[in-house]
């Protein structure tokens, strides 16, 4: 029977949707109001649920500016046992490859061995869904992405994933990386009990030197892709034809009439 698992969750702090701004260099401006990435909240919830069932501990790991501590503290108040933040100026400009390398080394150094690694399906700022599978490859883990259901088996997990045209269920051995969809659960808020415990816990902040990487391997210089330019989107469409008759009914009638009698660009004989 699965018992006392060490469960790791990767968490990213993201700008709240209204505060998302791209800087001139194509990078996200992270100075505004922030939150724990919604999908990471679902990943954390699955981790806490699993620990509550089988025992063990939940470690959360993040990479970001020092203020990402907020999201890790939030994770502790929801019930995570330990939190690590990789924060270093050298990490600026990391693409998903460089992010995955740095997170993998952080996980190896501070929270290994482990049984299950959770990631949110994607973040709402980058929207790539890359980092989970990239870390899984670096660490040589099994993986299942787009997971919305997890059940315990004797020595493995039964997980269900979304694919095109339906769902697939797997019996997957450990250690495994699972990326979690928003449909999987409703994340809990902070609990009084966990918050009281969290008072005595501290987010451990670690640097690139602590995980044994050189400055060439991280940040912009460790990234095989860069943003070469950012352009404003131009939408070219003739102006809208508005219908504003005496009643909504008349507006609808007029609109439908106009729609169905619209002239074609092609000559019809």
């Amino acid at each position: 029977m699965l018992k006392d698992l060490h469960i790791v969750v990767m968490i990213k702090q993201v700008p709240v949707p209204k505060a998302m701004k791209t800087k001139a260099d194509g990078m996200m401006d992270r100075s505004g109001k922030s939150m724990m990435n919604p999908y990471c909240q679902n990943a954390l919830e699955e981790a806490l649920k699993l620990r509550d069932k089988v025992g063990g501990k939940v470690s959360v790991v993040s990479m970001g500016p020092p203020n990402a501590q907020q999201s890790l503290n939030e994770a502790l108040r929801r019930g995570a046992d330990e939190a690590y933040l990789l924060s270093d100026r050298l990490l600026a400009g990391s693409d998903t490859w460089a992010t995955a390398v740095a997170l993998s080394e952080t996980i190896k150094t501070f929270v290994s061995p482990f049984d299950v690694l959770f990631a949110g399906l994607q973040t709402i700022d980058g929207d790539t869904a890359h980092v989970g599978p990239q870390v899984a490859e670096h660490l040589g883990l099994y993986q299942v992405c787009y997971v919305d259901k997890i059940e315990l088996l004797e020595n493995s997990l039964k997980v269900r994933r979304l694919i095109e045209g339906g769902y697939e269920s797997f019996d997957v051995p450990l250690p495994v990386m699972l990326s979690i969809t928003k449909e999987a659960n409703t994340p809990r808020g902070p609990s009084l009990n966990a918050s009281l415990k969290a008072v005595n816990k501290e987010v451990k902040i670690v640097s690139v030197a602590d995980i044994g990487l050189s400055k060439e391997e991280v940040g912009l210089s460790g990234s095989p892709t860069i943003v070469s330019r950012v352009l404003n989107v131009v939408i070219n469409r003739p102006p809208v034809m508005l219908f504003n008759e005496k009643t909504p009914q008349e507006s609808v009638n007029k609109l439908l009439e106009t729609f169905n009698s619209a002239e074609s660009d092609v000559e019809v004989s």
């Binding site: 995955a100 099994y142 019996d171």
Partner: protein, 374 residues
């Protein structure tokens, strides 16, 4: 000569002095992953193949190779060739009937190593977004996600004193704003990208095209097969947003009741024999008014129906990205300044509660949208 011309001339002169760097090390041509669903090709497999064919004219070696994996995968070779592939790598194995990350990653990475392309394109579907990062990581190459435009062009880094005449330009909408970011990575090969389904059109099939079929056997390990497939649930009632002629889409503002009303409109249009589906904005999904599979936009589906009706949708750029190539757009919104009107052909500035009921009445009394001239 004007000042601008003079400046452009000087710039070109400086650019020409930047030495050409070629790190391809023999990598040439383009490869694509042709995704299958069960034993069928995913429509996006042919879309990315068509785009690969189009951009291939801009690189030295114009060979386009498709990699197809699955049970009886060889049966897709002719379709892929007629849609633009010069070569098809077929990895056919009964154990590949259902998608599993590790055997698929093994198959794709070993095929890529043998093909040695300079550009690799995957579909940004649920499977592509699982497989591509795993493969790119194994190959130690960069990867750009969810691209909506692809091109090949010159990239000059004055700082590094490098000029790449035919860099792969991977273009995607940037977060939260009306901006497009061009991502490049001419330092590792293949330069790799996932591409959003529904964005590109497949080529018209040409059955006279000739191509080479290569049956490829990867060196699978026992480890690759340890994840066991327990079941596959077919979603019979799956939405067909990509096949609908009409999409009626709701925003967060209309609330749960609004979606009930839109569903009634959808049912009435369907009753009249027109192909219609219900769509939504991301905010409406996040608010829990409707399930994620209805979501249209940057993080949902890209659609181009003949008619898109946006009801109570303000028109966040992420949403516009997913529907702006619709043939005709009708917008209904209380806010005359809502951005959705900038991409709409027809509009009514009013509350959906006033507009949708008479629309339902018209449809129920037999009104059909005429697409002859659209």
């Amino acid at each position: 000569m004007s000042e601008d011309d003079e400046r452009a001339r000087r710039r070109a002169e400086l650019d020409a002095k930047v030495p050409i760097v070629d790190l391809r090390n023999g990598a040439k041509g383009i490869a694509t992953w042709a995704q299958t669903i069960g034993e069928d090709l995913h429509p996006a497999a042919l879309e990315i193949l068509g785009e690969a064919r189009r951009i291939s004219s801009k690189i030295d070696d114009q060979t386009v190779t498709s990699i197809v994996i699955g049970k009886n995968a060889e049966k897709h070779a002719d379709t892929l060739i007629s849609h633009g592939a010069d070569k098809v790598y077929v990895i056919s194995d009964d154990r590949l009937e259902y998608y599993r990350d590790l055997p698929y990653a093994r198959a794709v990475t070993e095929a890529i190593k043998e093909i040695n392309p300079e550009i690799m394109i995957y579909t940004a579907t649920a499977l592509g977004r699982s497989l591509a990062p795993r493969c790119a990581s194994r190959l130690h190459v960069g990867l750009s996600a969810d691209c909506t435009q692809l091109d090949v062009g010159q990239y000059i880094s004055r700082k590094q004193n490098q000029r790449f005449p035919t860099a792969f330009l991977m273009i995607r909408p940037s977060f939260g704003e009306s901006k497009l970011a061009t991502i490049i990575g001419p330092w590792t090969y293949p330069q790799s990208a996932t591409v959003r389904p529904g964005v590109f059109r497949p080529l018209e099939p040409d059955t006279t095209r000739k191509g080479e079929v290569i049956l490829f056997t990867p060196n699978f390990t026992d480890e690759d097969w340890k994840t066991e497939v327990l079941s596959f649930e077919n979603e019979a009632d799956r939405l067909e947003l990509d096949k609908a002629d009409i999409i009626i889409s709701g925003g967060k503002g209309i609330g749960k009741d609004g979606f009930v009303m839109l569903q009634e409109l959808v049912d009435a249009i369907r009753e009249n024999g027109q192909k219609v589906e219900l769509g939504s904005s991301r905010a409406a999904v996040n608010a829990g008014y409707i399930s994620h599979d209805h979501q249209i936009g940057q993080t949902g589906k890209t659609v181009h129906p003949k008619l898109y009706v946006a009801v109570g949708i303000s028109g966040a750029i992420q949403h516009l990205m997913g529907m702006q190539s619709s043939r005709k757009v009708i917008a209904i919104n209380t806010d005359p300044n809502a951005r959705i009107f900038s991409v709409a052909d027809y509009g009514i500035v009013d509350d959906y509660k006033n507009v949708i009921p008479p629309l339902i009445e018209k449809v129920k009394s037999g009104f059909k949208f005429n697409f002859e001239n659209v």
